[in-house]
Symmetry: D2
Subunit: 456 residues, 4 copies
Amino acid sequence: MALWGGRFAEPSDHDLRALNDSIGFDRRMWRQDIAGSMAYARAIAAAGIITREEAESILAGLEVVRGEFESGAFVFQAGDEDIHTAVERRLTELIGAVGGKLHTGRSRNDQVATDFRLWVMDAIDEIDGLLHSLQAALLEKAQAHTETLLPGYTHLQPAQPISVAHWLLSFFWMLARDRERLRDARRRTAVSPLGSGALAGTPFAIDRDQLAKTLGFDTCSSNSLDAVSDRDFAAETLFALALAGTHLSRLAEDVIIYSNPLFGFIALDDRYSTGSSLMPQKRNPDPLELARGKSGRLIGHLSGLMTTLKGLPSGYNKDLQEDKEALFDAVDTVKLLLPVLTAVIRTLKLDAEKMRAALGDDLLATDLADYLVKNGLPFRQAHHVVGQAVRAAQAAAARLSQLPLDSLRQLSPLFAEDVREVFDFDAAVARRSAAGGTAPSAVAQQIEAAKALLSR
Amino acid sequence: MALWGGRFAEPSDHDLRALNDSIGFDRRMWRQDIAGSMAYARAIAAAGIITREEAESILAGLEVVRGEFESGAFVFQAGDEDIHTAVERRLTELIGAVGGKLHTGRSRNDQVATDFRLWVMDAIDEIDGLLHSLQAALLEKAQAHTETLLPGYTHLQPAQPISVAHWLLSFFWMLARDRERLRDARRRTAVSPLGSGALAGTPFAIDRDQLAKTLGFDTCSSNSLDAVSDRDFAAETLFALALAGTHLSRLAEDVIIYSNPLFGFIALDDRYSTGSSLMPQKRNPDPLELARGKSGRLIGHLSGLMTTLKGLPSGYNKDLQEDKEALFDAVDTVKLLLPVLTAVIRTLKLDAEKMRAALGDDLLATDLADYLVKNGLPFRQAHHVVGQAVRAAQAAAARLSQLPLDSLRQLSPLFAEDVREVFDFDAAVARRSAAGGTAPSAVAQQIEAAKALLSR
Amino acid sequence: MALWGGRFAEPSDHDLRALNDSIGFDRRMWRQDIAGSMAYARAIAAAGIITREEAESILAGLEVVRGEFESGAFVFQAGDEDIHTAVERRLTELIGAVGGKLHTGRSRNDQVATDFRLWVMDAIDEIDGLLHSLQAALLEKAQAHTETLLPGYTHLQPAQPISVAHWLLSFFWMLARDRERLRDARRRTAVSPLGSGALAGTPFAIDRDQLAKTLGFDTCSSNSLDAVSDRDFAAETLFALALAGTHLSRLAEDVIIYSNPLFGFIALDDRYSTGSSLMPQKRNPDPLELARGKSGRLIGHLSGLMTTLKGLPSGYNKDLQEDKEALFDAVDTVKLLLPVLTAVIRTLKLDAEKMRAALGDDLLATDLADYLVKNGLPFRQAHHVVGQAVRAAQAAAARLSQLPLDSLRQLSPLFAEDVREVFDFDAAVARRSAAGGTAPSAVAQQIEAAKALLSR
Amino acid sequence: MALWGGRFAEPSDHDLRALNDSIGFDRRMWRQDIAGSMAYARAIAAAGIITREEAESILAGLEVVRGEFESGAFVFQAGDEDIHTAVERRLTELIGAVGGKLHTGRSRNDQVATDFRLWVMDAIDEIDGLLHSLQAALLEKAQAHTETLLPGYTHLQPAQPISVAHWLLSFFWMLARDRERLRDARRRTAVSPLGSGALAGTPFAIDRDQLAKTLGFDTCSSNSLDAVSDRDFAAETLFALALAGTHLSRLAEDVIIYSNPLFGFIALDDRYSTGSSLMPQKRNPDPLELARGKSGRLIGHLSGLMTTLKGLPSGYNKDLQEDKEALFDAVDTVKLLLPVLTAVIRTLKLDAEKMRAALGDDLLATDLADYLVKNGLPFRQAHHVVGQAVRAAQAAAARLSQLPLDSLRQLSPLFAEDVREVFDFDAAVARRSAAGGTAPSAVAQQIEAAKALLSR
């Protein structure tokens, strides 16, 4: 039975029910719904709206319902349009009409917002842990490779040599920001709407602050009309997940490219590669491709929810029921991805020789210009001179380091014998020792900072 | 067992499987997968790749598999990573190693594209029928109300009187465009990728055109590399559904507003209204709000899929596995919405008196300006004069029609006694008889055109 | 001249330049670019890379360039591909080859990230001020209307009476969250990338922390590879603006509906209404419609930027140049909207009588159920009884309060004479006095909290 | 002066004007606006609403206005809120009050829809030509490389050898679909709304069909209420452009990866590469990165416009003014990209040797399995055997073709001496000769089909 039949001459149409019911997806909030109802029962008892005995009966009944959910024994009925209805229906079966007192002063509008916020808080906590694990994997791998060099790219063209540690840690900091953003989102989620009624507040003298604390909220909402229709927390959490998704997609893109045999920098473990139904030789980096692909899905959910919110009039509108599936799916998606990516990083095989072999002299062109700068040439001119040297080497099919000193001196008299010292990849990396640079010394500091962050 | 284990020393990780497997959602393409395999078995038999006997064995086996799916007896196994694997696995259980011949020259890359295109073609056909029904409901309702007037709005401010038929038919034409777009999308979907192999084409002399025809495609793809990674048809179908969704959201917005009691133009049938868990008086237009809200979901799916497609390298990439859930959900969403909206329209109660009562004299201000135009005043000046008249009436707290002729003549000497005739809503509507106008005569033509379209 | 010609045999194609150059839009960052260069000149002087005299010459030159921008005298040249090139080109014209020393150890990769972050920090500060003003306008208007009642809606159907103050303040809190989110975004923006070089860090002993402080950043970035390609701050700011946009769109939707004459709750001032070119009577709420419409634009920009970020390989990629136009336009859009909406609220004319007239007895149905609850009936049963009462009243074409006591008692014997007292809108509002409720007493607290927030 | 001042006591606020005016962007529709007005003047003259002399005066005046726009002499005034106002204002300056007759029976609602549709039709035609050019460049390049082989990739892992022609042509067919979609969009755009008035149709006996034909439309709209608020054509054109953008982004991704020196398959011409301000050696594929990045922008615009359309009530709403900037920018973006990409393709340097060198024996693993199939082994078993062979070769650090026959025969006795013939890349390619395959013979057919398409 619906919670609201009295005013209606005819029952709902079957197709309408199929469209309208949310039980198919909101059932996963049973834990939050029961917790909310238990806290609410205590609150209305404390306010004298129900007796202590009634409260005890309700609490005992809800405990039974919880047990049924936990054991998988709970049986949904055809009339259970949502999790709130299902729980109240079952409660009333168990304890009789007194179960009908639970909803006094409460609306599904504040109830669902309460449940959903609690669910999101839990989800953020879980994802925070998973992000922490991926960070730990990146950090661990980085620590082993502070002096392993590979070509650093911009525009996917060779730019300057960097260390593998530096490359891996770049993703560490992206995830650090993701966790910060999720923490901020959680803070704005942890605001209790309970006690807002349908829109106007409750006429019963409930202690909303106490109620909020009991449920694990930080505080309670300031305006009941806002409280029942605010889905900012869902949008913000979706955004944080979608942006995290773009970070995973960027990590994925690098790993996919570096796994191509012409690069050969990286090999995925067998357990995280998959094959082809047709081509027997294939070892495909499927989990990375899914990470990259699923970032689209996350962005789509964000875009979809914000579109749904756009232009709604004040107060609760049924459109808001669309908030859950998008966020549920986003949370599930991220929770599927993170453990696999963590394992991928942990088991990644790095081919230091192939990386080293890919370091070309051109990667030191900037250092060559810096050499001229140190000898007094303004950088812009040094850049031009070295550009010509690169071109000359290319024309001569020679490596930059093989250009005779004479040729270099034709481009600038500032070149001298010691120019040979420029062509040392390790030295070039070691020079980039200012904060945040790729030098082992700077990376060591980075690693300390990263450790400190993880142990917080 | 995966279809591709030979090359791997270690089995896939459990979490990787959970991430990677698509069986959870692609199982709904079992009908298309089996049809595709049956046609393919015939094609490779015709090309002499398998014997007639082998083909018959495979076909018989697939028939059994189909029966199992139809009866619900099919049992998925842990190793069934996708519907293709599940079907081939079961087939081989049934008929032995010869089942392993079915995949000769075929890749899951062309197979999944084939299955998915067939599924989309069927989905478009179904949705076309549902859109037709909604159009029919709008048309039927419109025919009964060619002379029932309501205020037409622009900017949600009263503009000019229109007929209910004209209002309802405006949605008819939106849906007509949706159906056209779906038809165009279907044409571009009905292109068979089968026989493209993994990316490079097939080395077996298969008659791809024949294969395409057998499966109900219009034609076959021109380039195998494109064929295995083309998801334009999915994006285009999603777009057509999302745009249809905006039309439904616009219809919803009107109905929601017109159902507010201050308007009171419309009442939803009890069967398509819902109540509140707290407020006993409530009758809420939930299905309309869901139509409005779900348009966000559809737009999100479109945005998500296009983002997934963006920047992919050539050939099949696992990212493409993200194509299905978005489209499946979009199709399901539209199929949930349309029958309910059709029933809502069929059972809509219109309150012609409230609509008529809402017609204010201001709605005839343009006709008043046209009156001056007919008496020789350039329209721009006539507009200005009438604007002043409206202001004068407002200042006098009078209706526009009640302004004394003297007052009007102070604004323009072109006003005469016959100005009273302007204040006739039915006449104003009847005047708009040019093609596409709201006059009953023009609406009658519109209805004829609409009928003709539906009976095509 | 481009900054990078030496290596190239042929100049860039004209069409390529049209596509590639960003000067058309990044010129608006001239102030940040010059500030960044001045700080950088001091930093490389402090590190001994250039002499004190060279630094002074560069600073003096940059001061001249700044003056030219401020006075509008700066002349762009054909070769100025971006603001960085334009400033360095002009500097070199003014002070000669020493100008070419400024770029030592700096890349446009860290330079543009620095400029853009500074620009975003300024933009957030400006928008924060504009949001504060809109909050102040809402608060001021609310203070004048704590006892003016209007129907509160859910599903756009009459729900319960609320005060105008409560309605207006609901938007106040949405904007409070927006400002919080922008503040969080600003914190993550205020991280200096300067000194990251192209990707690997700088080989020069620059004090990056000092440099960051000088420019107004809170801190400096931890990883140079991340620093040059991190656009999270842009995405996050866009998100905060887009979500603020949905809030404005919701305010707009209410005002648009309440301005329809059948509601008539609200009238926009003439200065913020517009007319029609054809219909002389029209007064349209254009600014609200634009607020609603432009929320789509903001969501589109967010979606677009995130899509651009998706799947990029490590390090700077030219795709990132797409970050600016989206954010510039979003900032401009919000800066256009907010002052107008603030003025709309300040000048809004409220029609308290029409609002009061729209209060129907049905709005008290919940209070009627609460009456039964107080007399001992479980709420769920009370809800059912009142639902029947509403139906009975409707059938009798009577107001709920006019139902004879006898009729009520047929539904429940708990109804007594004092049921009449339920039908008092002001009392019903006053009862909702728990925190966040619509009662004048609760709203007074809300106003105090709002004031405190604004004066922080 | 606004076209609608009469009804207002106070002029518009300055900030409101800045928000509301569209002249900043809709001025680019001057040509369409004037064409529309000339056709309309003739239509109302034909209907006897204005005299022939008045029509001639208006037409002559509009001719002058057009001349002013063409020569750049047109001067906008402060009051010109949009292009329609600007043109009518100037017309009236030139020919006096009779200019005010032009707007008789016309609203800006149907006028702007007319202008915009005409503009979109022109834009589609232009873009169709640019797509044709890019197709021609791809086709031309393909024709020169039907026998140049490179590794074909799936999952960016080596899959099977394909020809350069086949790879290039895969993009040809994507663009062919784009052009088809644009053609379909154009057909739905070429529907004249003129004569729909503000929403209800026109009371003047205008021949709307004739008017439509004169302006180059195919037909005229069926319902005036729909006509003034239909922006499907804009959304559909945006979609077609955004999907084309994903195709360009995919081409870009390939070219970017293939230009990395470890691949080295491709080099961009100097004219289409750019350098770095810091690193002298750099040659970056900027135009491709912009193509990839700008696909995000296009998807964002689509998402934004659809969001704007969502949930609007019937009839024109000011929100619709947001339609133009998104589409204008999308059209400009595509028009910037296409000529550069066409030139990039035309001037692309292919390194056939590097491509050939990248062909590894593993690319023939499928052919090796097919060899076993031809010797009677079911494909699934053959796949498994070859998977083991690949693993054995890898373990032995040998190429697949170097595995001794004995080793192979341990895996399957079906291997014989003639297995050596499998290891021929050209033969493997030549075998894929079924329609759409990569064999030179199939590609020749593909080229014929492509030529036929272009010459249509």
